[in-house]
């Protein structure tokens, strides 16, 4: 009996405990649901507020852009200083000018519009846009951006100053051409070349960071259409400790056919960098004279396979009978591409040399059974 009573009390306690626990669990669940719902509502409100603000800002931006475009358009087509002043002092223009002086956002937008516009026009229109930039005293704004601690603000200022052809900023931009931030440095280099042409390449005298292949192409693209000036320090750049500067100088010699730097470029054939040696070989082939082939053969054994093949290809155009002695043994090179290049060079020197090739090799065995018919089909220019 006593045992039975004890059993029931125990069961009862267990049920009460379970109920307590489940109520407690339910309360936790309820509170969690409430908290999550609250957070979701707050998030929805935040998103709505953000979208509303963004749309309002977008509309404001579009309105201001339209207003500025009207002003820029009026100024851009002026044909004299008097007309510029007249348009600028018109009540409509003054209204726009007052608008833009209220907030920094407006100034930023106007600078951006002016820079974008100057990219698309030239001649007097571009000069008028520059006039408006100066008249609206936006110089300090860009100068402050140039002194910003954020690299991207600086880079944008550099870009805009170059587009707006602000010569006063050359010194400031030049100081950034060797900046530790690669993107800022690249923008500054392009900007300085945009502003001063070949003279701007003076940053190569002191640059310690490498100039990427891409950046070299951008600089060359920026210089295209301009005639090379006398005061470029190509000789100094060819002796630079920065390999990318040597590469770039060799490319300039090649593109602008600077025969007067032939001897300086030839020194690079003995450079410690195999990449520079290869570029020097290519450069010399573009400004070659009657001694170039002999010079390249002299260095042939110092180079890797790629550069050696380049030399053989150059000999296809610049080779003479005197080079047969060098070329004929290469018909027995273990690498087929060397065999092919040497044979092509021998044949191009004189078509009758085909007999010499055929006499030196086993015509019917591979790879000559493939190379020889191919060679015969190639025209001799």
């Amino acid at each position: 009996m006593h045992q039975l009573q004890f059993f029931f009390t125990d069961q009862f306690n267990e049920i009460v405990n379970y109920l307590h626990y489940s109520v407690f669990k339910e309360q936790i669940l309820l509170r969690t649901i409430l908290l999550v719902s609250f957070l979701i509502i707050v998030l929805i409100f935040f998103i709505l507020y953000y979208l509303l603000r963004r749309s309002k800002r977008g509309k404001r931006k579009a309105f201001l852009q339209k207003m500025f475009n009207d002003l820029i358009g009026q100024i851009a087509i002026c044909e004299s200083e008097d007309e510029l002043n007249e348009v600028f002092s018109q009540p409509d223009s003054q209204k726009i000018i007052q608008q833009f002086q209220i907030e920094k956002f407006q100034k930023k937008l106007l600078i951006s519009e002016l820079a974008k516009t100057s990219k698309k026009f030239r001649g007097s229109t571009l000069e008028n846009i520059q006039w408006l930039f100066e008249k609206m005293q936006l110089k300090n704004e860009l100068l402050n951006n140039l002194k910003s601690k954020e690299w991207h603000t600086k880079a944008k200022a550099v870009q805009q100053l170059a587009l707006l052809k602000q010569d006063w900023s050359i010194k400031e931009i030049f100081a950034l051409t060797n900046h530790e931030n690669i993107l800022l440095r690249m923008e500054a280099q392009i900007a300085i070349v945009k502003l001063t042409g070949f003279e701007g390449l003076n940053f190569l005298d002191t640059i310690s960071h490498p100039i990427s292949e891409w950046q070299q192409l951008r600089l060359i693209q920026e210089l295209s259409g301009q005639a090379i000036t006398e005061n470029v320090n190509i000789c100094q750049w060819l002796q630079s400790k920065n390999d990318s500067v040597v590469h770039f100088a060799l490319r300039l010699i090649e593109i602008y056919q600077q025969h007067k730097y032939y001897d300086d470029a030839a020194i690079c054939l003995s450079h410690s960098s195999s990449g520079i040696c290869r570029t020097a070989v290519a450069t010399l082939s573009f400004i070659s004279n009657e001694t170039t082939a002999d010079l390249l053969i002299e260095h042939y054994l110092d180079y890797n396979a790629a550069t050696q093949l380049d030399i053989l290809k150059i000999l296809q155009n610049d080779g003479t009978e005197s080079h047969l002695e060098f070329l004929l043994p290469l018909l027995h090179h273990p690498d087929d591409s060397f065999k092919m290049a040497a044979a092509a060079a021998i044949r191009k020197i004189r078509s009758a040399n085909m007999e010499k090739i055929e006499a030196s090799v086993e015509k019917s065995s591979h790879p000559w059974n493939v190379i020889l018919p191919q060679l015969k089909m190639e025209p001799i220019t």
């Binding site: 820029i72 358009g73 087509i77 001649g123």
Partner: protein, 128 residues
Amino acid sequence: MKILISDDEMIMLKIIELRLKKDGHEVIVTSNGKEAIEQIKLHDPDMIIADIMMPFISGLEIVNMVKQNHLHRNVPIIILSAMGQENVVLEAFNLGADDYITKPFSPNELSMRVKRLAASAGALAKNN
């Protein structure tokens, strides 16, 4: 003269519009190729100035459509584009464009080219 200009850049449209209006022309402005085709049908312009890269219909397609239409095939078209590659320029001329200007450009130069084209188109119409 009634000139239709089509470009998707607002500032470009604005400056060209103001420049041509200053020369005394009537200007119809459109910001995409589709709108340009609609306005050409509606207004019968005397000259068309169009960019190549535009939404919906490109400038080259406009040239093609206009030059194949017997009503508008004599309307001179100037292409104004940032694309200066030889193949693009040649394609524009092959399709029937009368002039090609690469950006960046001078609005004064455009104005002169419009005058020259208008004069030669006028002379041609007189001869016919």
